[in-house]
């Protein structure tokens, strides 16, 4: 018994960190009504700042110069001490100041603008902040992760409390600090006017305003308090937290959330006590798990202590979910509209043809072979992101465990394929039923659906932010209880699971070529067909009664129930569908990678999926697909890297994702896909009006000969692609682009002059006038952008491309102009575009709201 008591005491060290992080979450929630998923990340940046100042004599601003040049740079680093070490006390002060500034910045730049936003907007914004800070920390502080030195005495205390064991004194210090700081904060809120005002604002924001308090000022001060407390505690805990990594403290958000929920998001002392208890219980389980979980309970050994926060969170939400405070605000915005998809079959046909051609084009193409792999990654993640569209975009539920569902499906498929032979990197035989891949994949997807339904159960009682809390805890529990559970997976210590190559009627449709490269066109075609089917299904859901029920639940659950909708069943259906899509994505990811390990499905990956889906536009099918292009390793980051000659843009994918998420949540909650849909339409009209004969085909497409013209256009398009593919004799390669365009235009003129689709339009004079008009309106923007790009290129001649930098500059300038006009008017600007033209244009591939 005394041994158990001692082990519980031992866990109070980490418990003190959970306690203060939990208290900080309560403080922020009281102050601004935000459950701050970035709380651990704020502490992490402060901790890195302290350690770097103290042990390296350097300070890093919380940003990054992502296009460094030889001559002009954004300042990132300041050397504080040339001998590589700054004194401890100033380092602590610096870290706390940074924590305070970050707290203020997060409040004023992110959450103040979002004060009336929908809960999803706030959740994704805090996830965006967490992703941004983690990514900046990784890039700034280097990626060798130090063990922090202790700032308090750490001598062992022998025979502690007469228990016959040695106790670390720095754990005692950490407990003392947590208790003192917890009491201090409690007194602040209990006995001061500021505390009273904060509590008043938490209870009734309007009332606080009427009494003359500024809720935003109160919120800002609370953000500072929370951020400083978290950093101070991380510094005191020091080496107890292990190596300082961008993920370490960030991931402690889950036990911190559990502690905060124990305190009912109201009580700081109870949250602190909850944090201590959580730390104590987890350490006790870690030490005693081998004794306590044996025999039939052996499978619990691996994940039991990591699952404690989930159990606590579910228990608290189940028992007290309805009594948790929900902060009222002056006004609350809803999620963006979910557009109804149109012409999915045409889109699917075009995409399949395009992917097939690109996949062939990039196979064994020297340096460009990387695009073949990026194409596979893009298509896989587009599928996974569509699962977010159903769950979050259509029905408004938040899941931070989608990648865990993918992992479940992938691992289960591997196990169902296993045949008792050691394969791939795994030398230990894994037994299994040796199912053929379609059956194994089906089992994987079914298991994902079952787990998804389990995840959906809490959604019957809770919603919004609370659901995000449950699912992030579930993601970590799934990882430790299943994906990293040796007993269940038979894969020791993260050894990858092997996936056999899929075949279809004897044809190899696997991802890898004979030289083991991710480049096989057959797999890309397999992927795009699956993506098209999933996208079609998701579009159909939106068009049917099911979709309308989803949207009704999203808009107002009570109203939906009043209208006769079974809300519980509808929610579970959405969770099930979403999990099935995530499972399909997981299966395809497994096929792509051939070997999958638990490291492929960390909870952070789920945050990134949500981030990119939201960034692209989580309420639309297009958004899901565009989101797949944005993830690390997909076509946009890889293409950016290629065009900018190894500027290593891929390293910034998560940083841009986090930043983009915050900006999108604030200024454009619909995401970027709808913007691009508008921009695409505008650009399509430019091209049509500036190309002699093109308007004839555009207008003809809306006329009686639509079918005939569809065939003509498709033939032209495929012909052009085949020309590009086979025109290897044209050197330099860049010439293929204008030549292809010339051929396309000649075909357009031939079709337009036939008279079958209407009068020839525009004529050459009209097109010339349009060119002149375009240059008058946009030439200056493009020119300035081009020149700026041209000027930036010589700043770093060894990495930037002198061809692409000016073009990129021109493109960015036009993009900025469009963004500016769109932000002002709600539409990409095109004065000459009439409403009639806008609706007549049906050649674009994006959906129209």
């Amino acid at each position: 018994m005394s041994e158990i008591f001692f082990f519980l005491l031992l866990g109070l060290g980490m418990g003190s960190l959970y306690a203060m992080l939990g208290a900080g979450l309560v403080v922020v929630y009281k102050g601004s009504g935000v459950i701050n998923f970035a709380h651990g990340a704020l502490a992490m940046y402060g901790m890195f700042t302290f350690d770097t100042a103290w042990n390296r004599g350097e300070f890093y601003f919380p940003w990054r110069d992502f296009l460094p040049s030889h001559d002009v740079n954004i300042p990132v680093r300041i050397t504080l001490a040339s001998d590589g070490s700054w004194p401890m006390v100033p380092s602590i002060i610096l870290a706390l100041v940074v924590a305070a500034v970050l707290g203020l910045a997060v409040h004023f730049l992110v959450f103040k603008p979002l004060r009336n936003a929908a809960p999803l907007g706030k959740v994704v914004a805090s996830l965006g902040v967490a992703l941004y800070l983690s990514s900046v920390a990784l890039l700034n502080f280097g990626n060798a992760f130090p063990i922090p030195k202790s700032i308090v005495p750490s001598d062992p205390i022998h025979n502690f409390l007469g228990l016959g064991r040695t106790y670390p004194s720095n754990t005692l210090w950490a407990i003392g600090f947590a208790v003192v700081m917890g009491l201090g904060v409690w007194c602040l809120y209990r006995f001061t006017t500021f505390g009273l005002a904060t509590r008043a604002a938490a209870g009734n924001e309007k009332g606080a305003v009427l009494l003359g308090y500024s809720p935003q000022f109160l919120a800002a001060v609370n953000w500072v308090i929370a951020s400083v407390l978290a950093t101070a505690m991380a510094i005191v805990v020091g080496p107890l937290q292990g190596p300082i990594t961008p993920m370490g403290l960030t991931a402690l958000i889950v036990p911190a959330l559990a502690a905060a929920l124990i305190g009912g998001l109201r009580s700081i002392p109870i949250a602190v006590a909850g944090g201590f208890a959580l730390g104590a219980v987890r350490t006790l389980l870690d030490i005693k798990k081998q004794d306590w979980f044996d025999g039939p309970l052996l499978w619990l050994q691996d994940g039991i202590s990591q699952s404690v926060p989930l159990l606590v969170i579910v228990a608290v939400l189940f028992l007290r979910g309805h009594s948790l405070p929900i902060r009222g605000s002056v006004e609350e915005k809803r999620l963006p509209l979910s557009p109804q998809p149109t012409r999915m079959l045409q889109h699917a046909a075009v995409w399949i043809v395009m992917v097939a051609l690109l996949a062939n084009f990039w196979q064994n193409a020297g340096l460009r072979t990387v695009f073949a792999g990026a194409l596979q990654t893009t298509l896989v993640f587009s599928i996974i992101m569509l699962s977010m569209v159903v769950l979050t975009g259509y029905i408004g539920q938040i899941s931070l465990a989608q990648m865990s569902l993918c992992g479940m499906a992938a691992f289960m498929m591997s196990r169902m394929m296993a045949d008792g032979l050691p394969r791939g990197s795994n030398l230990v035989p894994v037994g299994g039923p040796n199912f053929p891949w379609p059956l194994a994949a089906l089992v994987g997807v079914i298991v994902a659906v079952l787990v998804g339904l389990l995840l959906g159960l809490p959604a019957l009682r809770i919603r919004g932010v609370q659901l995000a809390v449950v699912t992030i805890a579930a993601a970590i529990a799934i990882q430790s209880i299943y994906l990293e559970n040796d007993e269940l997976t038979k894969l020791r210590a993260g050894v990858p699971a092997f996936i056999k190559t899929p075949t279809l009627v004897g044809i190899d449709i696997g991802a890898r070529s004979g030289r083991f490269q991710n480049e096989r066109p057959a797999f890309a075609i397999f992927l795009v067909v699956v993506l098209a089917l999933v996208a079609y299904a998701v579009s159909n859901i939106r068009r049917t009664g099911t979709g309308r029920r989803f949207l009704a639940v999203r808009a107002n659950e009570r109203a939906a129930a009043a209208a006769g909708i079974n809300v519980a069943r509808t929610k579970l259906l959405a969770f099930g569908i979403s999990a099935a899509i995530a499972g399909i994505g997981g299966v395809m990811l497994a096929f792509k990678q051939v070997e999958v390990s638990s490291a492929n499905f960390p909870y952070l990956a789920s945050l990134a999926v949500l981030a990119f889906a939201y960034l692209a536009g989580i309420t639309s099918v297009n958004g899901g697909i565009v989101g797949g292009f944005l993830v690390a390793g997909a076509l946009i980051p890889v293409g950016g890297n290629y065009l900018l000659s190894d500027a290593n843009l891929e390293a910034y994918a998560v940083l841009f994702g986090g930043l983009g998420l915050v900006v999108t949540a604030i200024i454009h909650p619909s995401g970027i896909a709808p913007f691009f849909a508008g921009a695409w339409r505008v650009m399509g009209n430019w091209v049509c009006r500036m190309t002699p004969g093109a308007v004839t085909l555009r207008d003809g497409y809306g006329g009686q000969r639509r079918r005939e013209l569809s065939v003509v256009l498709l033939a032209m398009w495929v012909g052009a692609a085949l020309f590009v593919y086979n025109a290897t004799f044209i050197e330099p390669m860049h010439w293929r682009i204008p030549l292809t365009m010339l051929l396309l235009w000649i075909a357009t003129v031939i079709a337009a002059t036939s008279g079958r689709y209407g009068p020839f339009s525009p004529n050459f004079a009209g097109a010339r006038d349009e060119w002149a008009s375009w240059f008058r309106r946009y030439g200056a923007w493009a020119g300035v952008g081009y020149v700026l790009g041209w000027l930036i290129w010589p700043l770093r001649v060894d990495t930037y491309s002198k061809l692409y930098m000016p073009l990129l500059g021109a493109g960015l300038a036009l993009f900025a102009q469009m963004l500016y006009m769109q932000t002002r008017s709600g539409e990409p600007h095109d004065e000459a575009l009439t409403d009639a033209e806008a609706h007549a244009d049906e050649l674009e591939f994006e959906e129209v709201d």
């Binding site: 110069d65 280097g142 754990t171 030398l427």
Partner: protein, 469 residues
Amino acid sequence: MRSHAKWLRLLAILFTFVLVTAACGDSDDGDTDAAQTDDAPSTDDSVGASDTGEATGEPIKIGFQNPEGDPNGSFPEYSAAARAAADYINTELGGLGGRPIELVVCEMAITPDDSQRCANELVAEGVELVVSSLNFFGNHIGILNGAGVPVIVGTPITVADFTSPDTFSIGAGGGCFGVHTGMVQFVTQDLPGVEGIDVNRVAVPWADTPPGVVCYYDLESKALDVIKGVIPGTGALAGSNPNLEHIGVPVLPASPDVTPQATAILDFNPDAIIFSAQGSDCWNLVDALGRLGWTPQDIPLVLSGACTDFTAMAAAGDLAVGIYLSSTENGLLAPLGTVSGQHLDNATVYQTKGAEYGVNQDNLFKGFSAQGFAVMMAIHEIATGISAAGGEVTGESLKAGFAATDGSQPSFGGSPLNCSSAPVPYVAVCSAPITMTQWDGEQLVPVLGGATIVGTDLVAGTELMPGPY
């Protein structure tokens, strides 16, 4: 209008701030710039390097695959040292047979797909040779083999590193094959003499990673059980100590609190502790053990060379004094005053040229930094042999050069390479002997007079045991 004025004021403040910070701040691409070789001074003859000047021939592309930026394991010092070595070779040693090295570094996360992504990208880049620092999965070698690219492994830890064709595991005492068995050999056979203690109980915390599990079960747990006589073996020490007990304690990389693991280790009441992991994880465990009252004087601790990090060891203070760390015959971190001959030359080149060509002081005395430098220098030594024989240095000729090594020539920073006699099935292991050193608070002092330790005999005649048995 008021809003415009507010924005202008904000912009003005921001602009002023940027100017001020630009005046007193640095850009953060210092690491890259620090490796510039334009101003590199000429070679100091006393260090024994041949001065053949700057390489001017057609560049030879060498890929370098390294885990960086992943919280589960990140070793930027490995590639930084390799870059420094490449710059040194290009600037002062005439490149590889006159061909300057173009090092293409692929940073990877510790996931199986990223390991393969890097291999794919390096193949696409058209590299002639790939250096794999350490890889948790070993699934990249098949891709490189498939593309006909030979692989040099700096820190071999997976079975693929030990057994793949056209692969040469030249570093770190043959990776865990040499190091883990060597550490068991040292603890059970040499430590009693060195410390004057009996060693019958050995605690073996082990890195809970894909290679860690294989290295522990097959090369540590099995080796100890062979000595105990539980597992039959053909080695001389099989069954030599039936009283030998051991406990394995898995330690996840980058664990936030390893107090439970430290408690399990100390509760076993061991006579000695063996731990082989990556830099920060080693010192995280040492710190946790220390917090529970352990000292190296109470229970000797033997760490693998991968744990070597002078900064972390200095920070650990008295807790690190007396800890044993494995090394190799010409270990580059040896104090210059304690070694001589080839060993002194190698250590001097690394400690002077490494720093001169961009390895920062934080990294210079880390085990993986020394290994990164040594691997590139070993490639240069083979290239020099090819040139001396009148051959052209290419990926293929380097492969042939490594394959022909027979242990007769010293190797930079390590034991002589003997790839031609690599034992079956470990056909890629070119070097397995290790040496042992001890941290005295300032430097690593050779133990046993720097004599080599070979523990591979402990697992001779046994079956592969890559997991729990």
